[in-house]
């Protein structure tokens, strides 16, 4: 997608549809949709510093037991050591996006092997599916 905030609605819809198409729980749709939106918004804001002419690549990998979203950019490297949301009790504008991502994905990590730009991996383990599978074996 272009790094233009007007396209965030497209990513939200695709994310929700990917989740729904694979018969995954409705109750998580809103949280997953918001988390991926926030991750892409962070790319626009921090990696591209608001440049709307760049590209963001969003890939989905759905396999048994996990839903994975990979978000790549060619912008400024994120420093994972300093990424932190504000304390939820510290009410002020900003600093919530990271919390929205971290609350629903089990894995939230930058792939250090990517030389230029960033590759963010978000993984949600589908516990109910694992339990179903385990009960059948």
């Amino acid at each position: 997608m272009p790094s233009d905030p007007r396209y965030l609605c497209v990513v939200r819809e695709v994310t929700a549809k990917m989740w729904q198409l694979h018969g995954l729980g409705e109750e998580m749709v809103e949280q997953i949709r918001l988390a991926v939106d926030e991750a892409c918004a962070n790319v626009i804001k921090y990696a591209y510093r608001g440049d709307t002419e760049k590209r963001i690549v969003v890939r989905y990998k759905v396999s048994r037991g996990r839903f994975e979203v990979v978000i790549e950019d060619s912008g400024i490297k994120a420093d994972a050591r300093v990424i932190a949301g504000r304390k939820l009790e510290d009410v002020r504008p900003g600093g919530l996006g990271i919390h929205f991502i971290a609350r629903c994905f089990d894995v939230f990590e930058f792939d250090g092997r990517k030389k230029n730009g960033n590759r963010l991996r978000l993984i949600k383990y589908l516990k109910e599916r694992n339990e179903d599978r385990d009960s059948r074996t």
Binding site: P5, R6, L8, C9, R12, E30, Q31, R33, L34, D37, E38, A41, I44, K45, L88, E89, V91, R92, P93, G94, G95, L96, G97, H99, F100, R103
Partner: protein
């Protein structure tokens, strides 16, 4: 997102509809902070037709609330749909904002 500003019993009511996200929240911020700077005593924001809100939208509301509190004004949120109510509770903002069911409730509080 669409913003319709009306006046009800002397109170400015922001009627919002659609998605409030990184793309649309600057327009909301512009309208809201313009009114905050006028130091109006009370603003209601009607969420009944809002389908989505992200952290930039939340940040705009927090900024508006703080601006209102600076001059002793009140900012009330009305009719937050269940699908987005979780964002307010997760971020503990349901304890900070005055959240009302509807207009009648807002005027009574």
């Amino acid at each position: 997102m669409k913003i319709e500003i009306a006046e009800h019993k002397g109170v400015k009511v922001f009627g919002l509809s659609g998605d409030i996200d990184m793309y649309s929240s600057p327009a909301l911020r512009k309208e809201l902070m313009s009114l905050v700077r006028e130091k109006v005593p009370m603003i209601f924001i009607d969420f009944r037709n809002v389908s989505y809100i992200d952290s930039s939208g939340i940040a705009t509301l927090v900024e508006g609330l703080k601006g209102m509190m600076d001059h002793g004004g009140k900012l009330k949120l009305l009719g937050i749909p269940e699908r987005i109510a979780g964002i307010f509770s997760f971020s503990k903002l349901d304890k900070v904002f005055d959240i009302c069911v509807g207009l009648d409730d807002a005027f009574e509080g």
